[in-house]
C-alpha cells in the first residue's frame, strides 16, 4: 500500500466527457491494497468505463460486502452513493436500494469469497430476480485479507504459497450464472483493460443482472509458480472467444465486421454493443452450447474470456413485478401510502 495520495496534478491534454469531466474527476481516495493488486486495475477500468459513459457521479451507487475487493469502491467515483454491506450481503442490500430507486446505476464490487462462499445464496437469488445491476467479482482464488487461504474459486491442483495444493472442486461463477439464467455474463482479466472496459460498459447499460467475473491476481498470496490465478498463468492460458465493442448512442458503426463474426446488439438507451467472435464455433446466445464450450475449455485448463452470454429479452426485476417507472423513493407519500380508508377497501376485497 501507499499512503501518498495521487497528486491532483493532471495531464493538461486529458480528454473531457460530455459532462466536462476528466477521468481524474471519477477517482476516489488512494488505494490501500498491496502494490500490484489486480483489484486496482479493475478500479481503473471502472473509472474509465463510467467516465466514457458520461455517468453523473451522483447517479451512481457503489455497493460492496467484505474483502479486499469490497474495499475498492472507496477508490473510485468519490462523489457517488455507496454502501459497504455485511459480508456476502451486498446483493440483498442492492436489491433494497434498487427497489427504492430504480433510476440509479448500480455497480456491485465483490470477491470470490464474498460471492461464492458466505454470499453464495445472496448471489444466486440476485440472478434469479434479474436485479438490474453490474456485478463485478474480483476473482483471485484466495482470501487475501486473511493471508491467502484458498477460496471457493480455487482450481484443483492450484498450489498455495505454503502447504498443499487445492483438492476441492471450484465453484465457477460464470457457469453458475449461466445455469441460473443470468442475462449478461462476462469474464475478463485485470491485466487486459482493452477487453475489460467495454465489458463493464455493457454490464452497466444492460437491463438486468450483468455479471463480470474478473481474474484479478492477488500479488501477495497467489502470484507464484503453480498458482492458476497468477498474472503469468492467466496470460498463458488466456482464451478470448467473444470480444465486445461499445458504440455510444447516435454513433455510426465505424468498423466493418465480417459476416458471422460480428453481432451488433442495440441496448435500451440506443447505444450498441458489437460482439466480435474470436472463435466462430462459439454462440453467446445459446445457453446449452455455451455451457458445453465453457466446460470443455475449462477441462483443458483454459480461461475462456469475453462476453460469454447475452440475453436482452428477459425482464429485469421492476418490470417483472410491474412496478411504476418513477422510482418509489420519488413517489409522493399519498401515492405510496393511500391511507387507512383505502387500505380497508383493499382488505375488503379479499374477505
Amino acid at each position: 500500500m501507499t499512503y501518498i495520495a495521487k497528486p491532483k496534478v493532471a495531464h493538461p491534454g486529458l480528454p473531457r466527457n460530455k459532462l466536462g469531466l476528466t477521468s481524474r474527476d471519477y477517482e476516489g481516495t488512494v488505494s490501500t491494497l498491496c502494490a500490484g493488486c489486480g483489484h486496482d486495475s479493475v478500479t481503473t477500468a471502472i473509472i474509465q468505463a463510467v467516465f466514457e459513459l458520461n455517468i453523473e457521479p451522483h447517479n451512481l451507487a457503489k455497493m460492496s460486502g467484505i474483502g479486499c475487493s469490497s474495499k475498492t469502491p472507496a477508490y473510485f467515483v468519490s462523489q457517488s452513493h455507496g454502501f459497504n454491506a455485511v459480508h456476502g450481503r451486498m446483493p440483498s442490500v442492492t436489491t433494497g436500494a434498487n427497489a427504492a430507486n430504480r433510476d440509479l446505476t448500480y455497480i456491485g464490487v465483490s470477491g470470490d469469497g464474498d460471492s461464492l462462499s458466505i454470499g453464495l445464496g445472496q448471489f444466486v437469488h440476485a440472478i434469479r430476480r434479474n436485479l438490474n445491476m453490474c456485478y463485478i467479482i474480483e476473482n483471485n482464488g484466495v482470501y487475501g485479507l486473511t493471508k491467502g487461504q484458498f477460496s471457493a474459486s480455487a482450481d484443483i491442483g492450484s498450489k498455495p504459497k505454503k502447504g498443499m495444493a487445492n483438492q476441492q472442486e471450484p465453484i465457477d461463477s460464470v457457469s453458475t450464472a449461466l445455469s441460473l439464467g443470468a442475462t449478461y455474463i462476462a469474464r475478463s482479466f485485470s491485466g487486459d483493460k482493452e477487453q475489460l472496459v467495454p465489458l463493464i460498459q455493457g454490464a452497466l447499460l444492460h437491463d438486468g443482472f450483468a455479471l463480470v467475473d474478473v481474474i484479478s491476481p492477488c500479488v501477495t498470496f497467489n502470484d507464484h509458480e503453480g498458482s492458476t490465478k497468477s498474472y503469468a498463468h492467466t496470460r498463458q492460458f488466456y482464451h478470448q472467444v467473444v470480444d465486445m465493442d461499445y458504440v455510444p448512442p447516435a454513433e455510426e458503426l465505424k468498423v466493418a465486421y465480417d459476416d458471422g463474426e460480428a453481432m451488433p446488439v442495440e441496448l435500451h438507451d440506443g447505444s450498441k454493443i458489437v460482439l466480435r467472435k474470436m472463435d466462430k464455433r462459439y454462440d453467446p446466445t445459446s445457453r446449452a452450447s455455451s455451457f458445453k464450450y465453457l466446460r470443455d475449455h475449462f477441462n483443458r485448463g483454459e480461461i475462456t474470456t469475453g462476453l460469454l452470454y447475452l440475453d436482452e429479452s428477459r425482464k429485469e426485476m421492476h418490470d417483472l413485478m410491474g412496478n411504476v417507472d418513477t422510482p418509489l423513493a420519488r413517489l409522493p407519500l399519498e401515492s405510496l401510502h393511500p391511507g387507512a380508508d383505502e387500505l380497508r377497501k383493499i382488505l375488503k376485497r379479499y374477505r
Binding site: T2, K6, A35, V219
Partner: protein
C-alpha cells in the same frame, strides 16, 4: 523502437531539462534541495562549481533553465530557479575556506587573458588552482567587463560583483588595468605566454544610419551610454527619452533613464509583441516602472529644429502573420513624429577586432568574426583561444562561463602537449533513493503552490538613487514554498523490464498518464497511441526491452513526469526505481587529475 540506451549519459541528463538547458549544466535540482535543507553554503558551492558567479547570476542570468523547466509544461509557470540561486548566495556563510586555492608551487606555465569579464575570469578560476601564472589585460581600470559597465547597479550591486570576482582574483591573478591590447601580433610575438585567451566581448553597439544621426549630440549608443552612466560620466538626461530597440539592453537603458530624471520613457519596437528580444521578466520589470513599449514603429529620421533634437519620425508598420505564427517584413502604412529630448540606440551589438591582425594565422569568417571551434574554443591559430561574446557574438553571462570552462580544459591540455580534442567523456551516476517501504530520500509529494513573486522596492523609493537594488530577494516563507515546486527531475524513473509482471499498477497510479504498456511500434505511430498522446517531440520516449510475459514494451513519455515516485511505490516487484542521476562534468582540474593518474598507472 529500439530499447532506450540509458547507458548514454545524455539520456538521463536531458530529462533534467533545466540542467540540460543551462550552458554550464548547473545541477539545479540538487542545489534547490540543498536550499530546502537550509544548506545555503553547500548550495552556493554546488552552484559555483559550474557557474562560478552564483550571486551575480542569481540576479541577472538570462535563465535558459526557466523556459525549459518541466513545471512550466505541467502547469503554468516554471520554478523560480534564478531567484533561488540568489537565496543561496544571499544566505551563505563565509565560504572562502572552501574556495579553490593556488598550489604552493607554480607549474611554470603562463597564460594571458585579454579582457577582465566573465569569460576570462572563469578561465582564471579554473587555471589558477592548477598552478598557472595568469595575467589579465584590461582596458578599463576595473574588473567585470560588461557585467559592471552594462548592467545597472539597481539590478546588480557592485558589492556583489566585487566579492565574487575577488574570489578569483585573490588566487594570485596578475591584473593589468588600463592596458588595452592594441596588437595581438605583438603579444604573441613576445612569446611571453604559453597560451592566450581572448574574452573581449562584443564591444561595439550597432548604429542607426538614418538622416539626422550625426547632427546633434543627444543620440547615444546604448552600451556606451550605460558604461558612461556606470562610471558616472553621465548623470542626467532630458525629460522625454526614446529607446530604440527592445532587447535586454533597451530595458536597462529605459530604467536607467528614469533614474537620471526622465519623466516619460518610450521603448520603440519595430515589431509587435511576441517578437521582442528582451526576456519576459525584463519587460515586466520595465513596464512596472511605467515605461511605455510602443510597437510597430520603424525609425525613419531624427527631427531637428535649429540643430536641436526635438523628435523622431517613425513609419507605422503593419505585419502579416503566416501559418507558423511568424511575420513578414511588414509594410509602412503611416508615419508619425514622436517628440523627444534624447534618443538611446539599443539595437544590438557587434564583435570588433581591430586589434587582431589578419595575417597571423587567425581565420575570420564572413561576419568578420574569428572561426572558433565550439568544443575546444581554439581558433585556427594554435594556442589562441576565444570565449564569451568574442567567440560567437553576443550571448550572455552563463554562456561565457561555459566557454571559459571549456577553454580552460583546452589551454591546460595545450600547455601540456596533450591532444585538446581528447577530453574526458561526460558520465552519469545513478543511485537509488529508496529509503524504506514508502520513504524516499527526497520530497516527492507534488506541491501545487504557484510561483512566488519577487518582492520589489516601492515604486517611489527606488528612483531616488541609481544604485537602489530593486529586487529584494525571496523571504524565508517564499523560499520554503518555492523550493517545493521543484519536481526533482534528476530523480530518474529507471525501469528493469525483466522484473515487470505487467500488473498495470504504475500505469493506473501515474497522475500525468505518462506510462503505457503496449505493442512496440515506430516512434511516430507509437506516440499517438499512448495513455495520453506524446505530442512534445522534444521530449524522449523511454522504451523498455520486451516484457517477459507478453513481449509488449513499457513506454514512458518523459514530457510531463512529475517524478512523484508513485510508479515505483506501486510496483510490486521493484521494476521501477527512483534513482538520482548525477551528471559528471569535467573541468580543467579533472583533466589534470586524470593525466596524473594515467602517469601513475603507466609507471
Amino acid at each position: 523502437m529500439n530499447p532506450t540506451d540509458t547507458s548514454n549519459p545524455d539520456y538521463f541528463h536531458k530529462v533534467v531539462d533545466c540542467q540540460w538547458a543551462c550552458p554550464a549544466h548547473t545541477d539545479v535540482p540538487e542545489y534547490i534541495r540543498l536550499i530546502a535543507q537550509g544548506r545555503f553554503s553547500d548550495a552556493y558551492i554546488e552552484n559555483r562549481q559550474s557557474n562560478v558567479f552564483p550571486g551575480i547570476l542569481g540576479r541577472v542570468c538570462d535563465r535558459p533553465c526557466e523556459p525549459a523547466c518541466r513545471r512550466s509544461r505541467v502547469e503554468d509557470k516554471p520554478v523560480a530557479i534564478c531567484r533561488l540561486k540568489r537565496v543561496a548566495a544571499d544566505h551563505r556563510d563565509d565560504i572562502t575556506h572552501r574556495l579553490p586555492r593556488p598550489p604552493a608551487k607554480k607549474n611554470g606555465k603562463k597564460v594571458a587573458l585579454i579582457g577582465a569579464g566573465c569569460a576570462s575570469l572563469t578561465v582564471a578560476n579554473d587555471l589558477c588552482p592548477l598552478g598557472y601564472d595568469v595575467t589579465i589585460f584590461e582596458a578599463l581600470d576595473t574588473t567585470g567587463g560588461l557585467m559592471r559597465t552594462n548592467i545597472p547597479r539597481f539590478r546588480l550591486p557592485p558589492a556583489v560583483l566585487d566579492e565574487e570576482i575577488s574570489y578569483i582574483v585573490d588566487m594570485g591573478v596578475d591584473l593589468k588595468f588600463e592596458h588595452r591590447i592594441e596588437s595581438l601580433k605583438k603579444l604573441l610575438d613576445s612569446k611571453e605566454f604559453d597560451a592566450v585567451f581572448v574574452g573581449t566581448g562584443a564591444p561595439r553597439g550597432k548604429n542607426l544610419e538614418i538622416p539626422g544621426r550625426y547632427d546633434n549630440d543627444r543620440i547615444y549608443i546604448g552600451i556606451d551610454w550605460l558604461e558612461s552612466v556606470a562610471f558616472e560620466h553621465i548623470d542626467t538626461i532630458g525629460e522625454q527619452v526614446l529607446i530604440i530597440g527592445v532587447g535586454n539592453t533597451a530595458m536597462d537603458c529605459c530604467r536607467t533613464s528614469l533614474r537620471l530624471g526622465a519623466k516619460t520613457v518610450k521603448v520603440m519596437a519595430r515589431k509587435p509583441r511576441g517578437f521582442f528580444k528582451a526576456s519576459d521578466w525584463e519587460l515586466d520589470d520595465a513596464e512596472e516602472e511605467d515605461v511605455e513599449i510602443v510597437v510597430n514603429h520603424s525609425p525613419k529620421e531624427f527631427v531637428l529644429e535649429n540643430g536641436k533634437l526635438t523628435g523622431m519620425k517613425f513609419d507605422i508598420m503593419e505585419y502579416k502573420f503566416d501559418d507558423n505564427g511568424g511575420i513578414d517584413r511588414g509594410t509602412a502604412v503611416d508615419e508619425v513624429i514622436i517628440p523627444c529630448d534624447d534618443v538611446i540606440l539599443a539595437i544590438g551589438q557587434d564583435n570588433a577586432f581591430p586589434w587582431i591582425e589578419r595575417d597571423i594565422g587567425i581565420e575570420f569568417n564572413e561576419w568578420d568574426c574569428p572561426v572558433v571551434n565550439k568544443q575546444t574554443m581554439m581558433c585556427s591559430r594554435d594556442g589562441v583561444f576565444f570565449g564569451g561574446d568574442s567567440a560567437f557574438g553576443p550571448l550572455n553571462i552563463i554562456w561565457a562561463v561555459a566557454h571559459g570552462h571549456e577553454a580552460a580544459i583546452s589551454i591546460h591540455k595545450y600547455c601540456h602537449d596533450e591532444d585538446i580534442y581528447d577530453r574526458l567523456p561526460a558520465g552519469i551516476n545513478l543511485s537509488s533513493q529508496k529509503m524504506g517501504m514508502h520513504e524516499w530520500s527526497y520530497s516527492n509529494d507534488y506541491d501545487p503552490a504557484a510561483r512566488r513573486l519577487m518582492p520589489h522596492v516601492d515604486l517611489k523609493e527606488r528612483f531616488k538613487k541609481l544604485d537602489i537594488e530593486v529586487e529584494l530577494g525571496f523571504t524565508v516563507e517564499q523560499t520554503i514554498q518555492e523550493v517545493e515546486r521543484c519536481l526533482n527531475c534528476d530523480i530518474q524513473t529507471v525501469f528493469a523490464a525483466d522484473l515487470c509482471i505487467e500488473c498495470d499498477a504504475c500505469i493506473d497510479i501515474c497522475p500525468v498518464n505518462c506510462l503505457t504498456i503496449t505493442v512496440n511500434g515506430e516512434e511516430d505511430e507509437l506516440r499517438g497511441r499512448l495513455s495520453a498522446p506524446a505530442e512534445n517531440r522534444d521530449q524522449a520516449l523511454y522504451v523498455s526491452g520486451d516484457l517477459p510475459q507478453t513481449g509488449r514494451v513499457m513506454v514512458k513519455d518523459e514530457d510531463l513526469c512529475v517524478h512523484c515516485s508513485l510508479c515505483a511505490e506501486r510496483c510490486p516487484t521493484g521494476a521501477w526505481d527512483m534513482q538520482k542521476s548525477t551528471v559528471l562534468l569535467s573541468y580543467a582540474a579533472d583533466e589534470a587529475e586524470d593525466a596524473k593518474a594515467a602517469k601513475i598507472t603507466a609507471a
